[in-house]
C-alpha cells in the first residue's frame, strides 16, 4: 500500500553488491521493450523469446520466491535491496508470462495474487518517491551515482508492461465482459485465463492499473481502466479481500474527486465506509494498520468532498467525522480564507503519494519537486475558487428575492465580486453524475437544493423541497381497516 511509512533515509550498510551485469540484461530488455519494439504482435503481447532464469529452478525455490514477492521489504531496506527486489519481480513475472505455455504453479494462498500485485506497486511507488527525494536533497553522492547508473530500474514502462501483460495473458477483460453479458466466462479465458494463477493475477492487475494511473496523475484513465469490473457485484473478486476492496474504492473515489465529480466521490467513499462500519472484519486481518489508515484517509476525503458538495451523509460516517475531524469539518464547510490551510493540510494527509515516472534530473536538484506538491497546488486552486460558495449559499437560503447590491453590503464586498461568486457557485452546483454505465459516464445535474437566477441586480432564489411521502401513510392506514 502506498500509505505505509516510507523507508528511513538510506543508511550505509554492507549490503551485497549490485547484481552483476549479466543478470540485469533481462530487465534492461523488459524495460526497453516498448521503446525498441517497432511491432506489436496481434494481441499486443510481448514475446521476449528468451530462456527464463527460473526455468531450471526447483519447485521449492519457486515457492520461496512466490512467498517473497508478496512480502513487504523491510523498513530500512537499502537501495541495493530495492534493486534486487525489482530484479526478482522481473524474473518472476518473466517466468510466469514468457515461459513455454502457462506455468504450473500453486499459489501459496488464495490471495497471493492480490498481495503480490499490491506489493509490486507499493515498491514501485516508494522507489520513485525515494529517488525523487534523493535528487532534490542532493546530499548522498553515492546513492545519486547508483541511481544515475540504473535509470531503468523500476521504470514505468516495465511496471505497466507487467500489468498489461498479465491482463492480456489471462484474457481477463474478455472474461469479465462475458460474465457481464451473462455468458460463461471460461469460454473466453483461453489456455492461460482458465488457470486461477493467471486469472487472479490478471484481475488484480486491473486494480493495480487503477492505482498506478492515479499515482501518475492520470485520473480519467484510472477510472477508464475499471470499465470491465462491476463494482456492484458483491461477488466481485476485489470485494472478497478487504484490503483490495478498500484500496479499489479509495482510488476510484479520489480520481472522481480530482475530476470534480464530488457527488460520485462521496457515493464511493460512503459505500465502502458504511460497509466497513457494518462488518468491521478487517480487524482480524494482518493488514489492520494499513486498512485503518486508508479508512481514515477516506474519512478525510469525504469531508473535503462534502465541503465542495453539501450532502447528507450516512449517520455512522457523520458521527465518525464529528469525532475525528469535528472542528476541521466545520471550518471547511464554512469556507472563506480560514478554511484554506485546513483543506491543504487534510488533502496532503489523505492523497496518494504521487510519483514522477521518470528518473529525476540529478543535475538540477531544485527542479525535482515532490509530485505531491504539484497536485496540491492544482487542487488548492480549485479550493480557492470555491471558497466563497458556502457564504453565498448560507445567505441565499434566507431569501426568495434579494438585491445584489444589498447582499454585497451585508457581505461587505464589491457588488461585482459578489456577481462572480454567484456565477461560480451556480456553475459548481452543476456536476457530472454517474447514473449507470462505465465510471466515466454521467450526466450534468443540478446537485444543489438551492437554485437561483439573476434579473439585472435582482436575484431570484428557489429551493427544491422533498414532497410529503403519502403512499406509506396510506398503506399503513389501509392495513388498520382490515
Amino acid at each position: 500500500m502506498s500509505y505505509r511509512q516510507q523507508a528511513q533515509p538510506y543508511q550505509q550498510a554492507d549490503g551485497p553488491a549490485r547484481a552483476p551485469a549479466d543478470e540485469s540484461d533481462d530487465e534492461e530488455a523488459l524495460v526497453n521493450e516498448y521503446r525498441e519494439q517497432t511491432q506489436y504482435d496481434e494481441d499486443g503481447m510481448v514475446d521476449l523469446d528468451r530462456a527464463t532464469s527460473l526455468g531450471a529452478a526447483s519447485q521449492q525455490d519457486i515457492q520461496a520466491q512466490l512467498q517473497a514477492a508478496a512480502t513487504p521489504l523491510e523498513f530500512q531496506a537499502t537501495l541495493d535491496t530495492k534493486f534486487a527486489s525489482y530484479d526478482n519481480y522481473c524474473s518472476l513475472f518473466h517466468f510466469i508470462l514468457n515461459s513455454d505455455g502457462p506455468v504450473d504453479l500453486e499459489m501459496p494462498n488464495y490471495y497471493w495474487a492480490w498481495e503480490v500485485i499490491d506489493e509490486f506497486i507499493y515498491q514501485f511507488n516508494s522507489f520513485c518517491s525515494y529517488r525523487q527525494r534523493v535528487a532534490l536533497r542532493n546530499e548522498n553522492a553515492e546513492e545519486i551515482q547508483l541511481l544515475r547508473e540504473n535509470p531503468n530500474t523500476w521504470g514505468c514502462y516495465s511496471v505497466l508492461n507487467v500489468l498489461y501483460s498479465l491482463i492480456q495473458r489471462s484474457a481477463i477483460s474478455e472474461q469479465l465482459a462475458a460474465a457481464k453479458r451473462g455468458e460463461d466466462a471460461s469460454l473466453y479465458a483461453g489456455e492461460y485465463g482458465n488457470r486461477p494463477l493467471y486469472k487472479m493475477l490478471g484481475y488484480f492487475s486491473i486494480i493495480g492499473l487503477l492505482r498506478v494511473h492515479c499515482l501518475l496523475g492520470d485520473f480519467s484513465l484510472a477510472l477508464k481502466t475499471l470499465d470491465d469490473i462491476e463494482l456492484n457485484n458483491k461477488k466481485g473478486m476485489f470485494a472478497r479481500h478487504t484490503t483490495a476492496h478498500i484500496t479499489t474504492y479509495y482510488y476510484i473515489g479520489f480520481s472522481y474527486m480530482m475530476m470534480r465529480r464530488y457527488a460520485d466521490a462521496i457515493r464511493m467513499f460512503s459505500h465502502i465506509l458504511v460497509y466497513i462500519s457494518r462488518t468491521k472484519n478487517f480487524q482480524k486481518n494482518s493488514q489492520f494498520d494499513t486498512n485503518a489508515k486508508t479508512v481514515d484517509q477516506m474519512h478525510v476525503l469525504i469531508a473535503i468532498s462534502v465541503a465542495f458538495q453539501p450532502t447528507r451523509l450516512d449517520d455512522t460516517i457523520h458521527t465518525a467525522l464529528r469525532e475525528k475531524y469535528g472542528e476541521q469539518f466545520n471550518r471547511m464547510q464554512r469556507g472563506g480564507p480560514d478554511s484554506i490551510p485546513i483543506f491543504e493540510e487534510l488533502f496532503r494527509a489523505a492523497c496518494p503519494k504521487f510519483i514522477s515516472p521518470t528518473p529525476p534530473d540529478f543535475d538540477n536538484p531544485e527542479v525535482n519537486i515532490d509530485p505531491v506538491e504539484h497536485q496540491v497546488t492544482i487542487f488548492m486552486a480549485e479550493v480557492r475558487n470555491n471558497m466563497w460558495s458556502p457564504t453565498v449559499r448560507s445567505y441565499l437560503k434566507l431569501y426568495t428575492t434579494m438585491d445584489l447590491k444589498k447582499l454585497a453590503g451585508f457581505l461587505e464586498v464589491e457588488p461585482e465580486k459578489l456577481r462572480h461568486w454567484l456565477l461560480v457557485n451556480k456553475q459548481r452546483s452543476r456536476q457530472v453524475k454517474w447514473n449507470g454505465g462505465g465510471l466515466l459516464d454521467g450526466t450534468v445535474e443540478n446537485l444543489s437544493d438551492l437554485d437561483y437566477a439573476m434579473e439585472g441586480d435582482l436575484i431570484h432564489i428557489s429551493e427544491s423541497k422533498t414532497g410529503r411521502r403519502l403512499v406509506e401513510w396510506y398503506l399503513r392506514n389501509l392495513q388498520r381497516t382490515y
Binding site: 505497466l160 501518475l216 496523475g217 456565477l423 457530472v432 403519502l470
Partner: protein, 244 residues
C-alpha cells in the same frame, strides 16, 4: 452527456490507438501531435486523446514539444469551467508550477520558458474559473506572450466569448449591458452582432435580455415520491383473498 472519453469528431485511427497499448508507444507521439494541431485548426476538441499525448510526454520527456503542451492547455481553456485544464496540468512535470527563479540562475533547466507559459495560462484558468471574465480579457491583453500562446488556436477569442455567453445564460435572465460588454470584451456594433446573432439575445436599451432556459429559470421544484405498483401488491392480493 457523453462519457468523458468520448469525442464526436475523433478519427478512427486515433480511437484505435487510444483503446490499445499503442497509446504508450512513443512512435504514436507524432500522430497525437498532428491531431492536436488539427483540433486547433478545426475548432474541435478531444481531451481524452490530448491527455494520452501528455502521458507519452510524461513517460518520454525527451519527446516533449512545448508548443504542443501549451496548445493543449489553451484548448482546454475553451471548455471552462470543466476540469480539463487541471487534468492536463496533473500530467505535467512537478516543477512546472513552482515559482520561477530570476532569469539565468537556472541555466540548465531547458524548459523555463515552458514553466513561464504554463503559469501564465494557469492564471487565465483561475480567472475564468473564478468567473472574473473582465480580468481574463485584461490579462490576456497585458502581455505579448499570451498572444503567442493562443495564436495557434483558431478563433480563440470567439470560442471564449461563446463559452462565457454559455455560462452567463445559465445564471442570468437580464444583464446590464456595461457588465456584459466587459465580460465579452467587445462593445458597440461588434457587441450587438455577437449578442443578437450568435447568442440570439435581445438588446433593449441598457439591458440585455437572455431568453428563459432550463438553467436560468431557477424554478423551485418539489421532489415527489416515486410510487411503484409493487407497493400495492398486498392490498391487491387481499382483495382477491377475501371476497366480500
Amino acid at each position: 452527456m457523453a462519457p468523458f472519453d468520448y469525442a464526436p469528431d475523433r478519427p478512427d485511427n486515433i480511437d484505435v490507438i487510444l483503446n490499445g497499448l499503442d497509446r504508450y508507444n512513443p512512435e504514436t507521439t507524432s500522430v497525437f501531435q498532428d491531431y492536436v494541431m488539427q483540433q486547433c485548426e478545426n475548432q474541435t476538441y478531444d481531451c481524452y486523446a490530448n491527455l494520452a499525448l501528455l502521458k507519452l510526454y510524461q513517460f518520454n520527456p525527451h519527446l516533449t514539444r512545448d508548443e504542443t503542451i501549451t496548445n493543449i492547455l489553451v484548448k482546454s481553456l475553451t471548455v471552462f469551467p470543466s476540469p480539463d485544464f487541471s487534468l492536463c496540468l496533473s500530467l505535467l512535470p512537478s516543477h512546472i508550477l513552482s515559482p520561477l527563479k530570476t532569469s539565468h540562475s537556472n541555466p540548465a533547466a531547458g524548459d523555463a520558458p515552458l514553466s513561464e507559459a504554463v503559469q501564465k495560462l494557469f492564471v487565465l484558468n483561475n480567472l475564468l474559473n473564478g468567473a472574473d471574465y473582465a480580468a481574463f480579457w485584461a490579462t490576456l491583453d497585458s502581455d505579448d506572450l499570451y498572444a503567442d500562446l493562443v495564436a495557434d488556436v483558431a478563433g480563440f477569442e470567439e470560442l471564449m466569448r461563446v463559452r462565457i455567453a454559455v455560462t452567463v445564460s445559465g445564471v442570468m435572465r437580464e444583464v446590464d449591458r456595461g457588465v456584459l460588454e466587459g465580460w465579452l470584451n467587445c462593445t458597440g456594433r461588434e457587441f450587438e452582432r455577437f449578442v443578437s446573432e450568435v447568442c440570439q439575445w435581445k438588446v433593449e436599451g441598457n439591458v440585455v435580455k437572455v431568453p428563459l432556459n432550463k438553467e436560468n429559470e431557477a424554478k423551485g421544484t418539489v421532489v415527489r415520491e416515486n410510487v411503484k405498483f409493487d407497493q400495492f401488491a398486498r392490498v391487491i392480493k387481499r382483495a382477491y383473498e377475501q371476497p366480500a
